[in-house]
Symmetry: C2
Subunit: 252 residues, 2 copies
DNA sequence: GATCATAGTCGTCTGCCTGACGATAAACAC
DNA sequence: GTGTTTATCGTCAGGCAGACGACTATGATC
């Protein structure tokens, strides 16, 4: 296989973002409305071209900041401030995935706490948080009756892969805290798991598990009643990133 | 963020392969010797450009066949014949990773049973199976005393990521059978785990675990004494792809 | 052929973890 | 105060893994 550096087919390389958050007990993803063909007017994942002098992670962090204002954390750093967790998801390169040209998209997964409001270059009407189940159903209607077209390009597949990554990764890591504000209660963390997995968990067993795992949660000393009921202890994410043994999803 | 389809920086897109196998109780990776600059004469992972009309998985499968003669399995299909498991690993796109031009490499991970002999376009002297620990040590010397240079480009990082993926994935999936021939014994499967993880496992507990997991192993009825000792039952990989509960690596 | 080394297979026991669920505690709404 | 909500602590039984004993069936060696 002789090698000729000048004889390679040129590709466009983009990053697409699966930005997930938990709003009102539902796992939601950030979607932006496309302003041009192809798929004009349809919803898509945010993303854009990788610049000539930019690393893939840098490009993803830049796009994330442009779309949400969020800063990205360093990959291995614990979740501390209001930044988002950002990691590479997978790369999609079907020759037909973009009708205009050959585009390879390096999808990234971002997990963020509930945010005030999305912004897409300042235009809020062209960006929204939508429940992932609504974005993933093929056609059909949202809860408010508005008809929903499938996501543009292969973004439904990318979103599905990102959701599955998030669902599986909170099993064996402390990543679920990325969905929470810097201080949170055990109940709030449990509701994150319930929203991401779409199941109900036993509050008592969940409490035992997360408080019994060394390094997972660090009590701040404060309490809150923002969820109603008896005051709950506030915690911060601890240094542990891996949960061993993992917290397995209920079978079904 | 105005969009101009003609104004994107061109990238070269390649696939690089982390091909792993188990030889003589050691986890080994396929390495090829570079014939040209940069890194001329150094060992590298096999790989090549993605063609203009080719999917990423197709390109990886083609490179795998060119380098080893192996056919790749469909992602979700159980391991049956002597083909290899192939899956996307991660994508590497640092602007400086190739001094000649901007190259984004979509690395893939392949797991194969022990093979007769490597071939690199027919030239066996430029391809070899090397223990991953030898390829990953920075400089230093192989066991035969020959000095070893680090892998070319960022291939040490890619290899390390691929090894870690394999190590973690055999915990919760039946992927370890991809390292075995179509029929194998429990002891042979155990030696795969031991080589990949670099630990010793209790034969009795391992036997109980793998034979007790429904769908993991299917007895063929035959026996073999190719490992010496008492004849062992032969098994084939069952339909189950996920191990639940997983088989966790020993802590140490 | 007896003995030994090797590898495979079946059991036992103990401790840890989880799921199911009872009970109590501390806030707020009325 | 009563009821409602949420948090937190306990109890108990079953499942599973680690440690390890015992037995089996081969080939190798004397």
């Amino acid at each position: 296989m002789p090698y000729d550096p000048s004889a390679f087919p040129p590709f466009a390389v983009t990053v697409d973002l699966v930005v997930l958050t938990v709003r009102r007990h539902a796992l939601c993803a950030l979607a932006v409305r496309r302003g041009e063909a192809p798929f004009q007017g349809r919803w898509a994942l945010p993303g854009g071209f990788v610049r000539a002098d930019e690393d893939l992670a840098q490009a993803a962090a830049r796009e994330l900041a442009e779309e949400t204002g969020l800063r990205a954390h360093e990959p291995a750093a614990p979740v501390q401030d209001n930044g988002a967790h950002l990691e590479q998801l997978a790369t999609y390169g079907d020759p037909e995935r973009d009708p205009r040209m050959r585009v390879v998209s390096v999808a990234h997964l971002a997990l963020a706490p509930d945010l005030p409001a999305p912004r897409a270059g300042g235009d809020a009407s062209n960006a929204r948080w939508a429940p992932v189940e609504e974005l993933l159903q093929r056609g059909g209607h949202a809860r408010d009756g508005e008809p929903v077209a499938p996501l543009a390009f292969d973004h439904a597949q990318i979103l599905a892969d990102g959701v599955e990554r998030a669902r599986s990764k909170i099993e064996y890591s402390s990543l679920a805290t990325a969905f929470c504000p810097s201080e949170f209660t055990v109940g709030e963390l449990r509701r994150v798991y319930e929203a991401v997995w779409g199941v109900a968990l036993d509050p008592r067993n969940f409490h035992r598990k997360v408080t019994g795992t060394p390094g997972f949660l660090v009590p701040t000393g404060g309490t809150t009643t923002r969820q109603g009921g008896r005051p709950a202890q506030l915690f911060r994410a601890g240094g542990a990133t891996l949960l061993n043994p993992p917290m397995l999803r209920p079978e079904v």
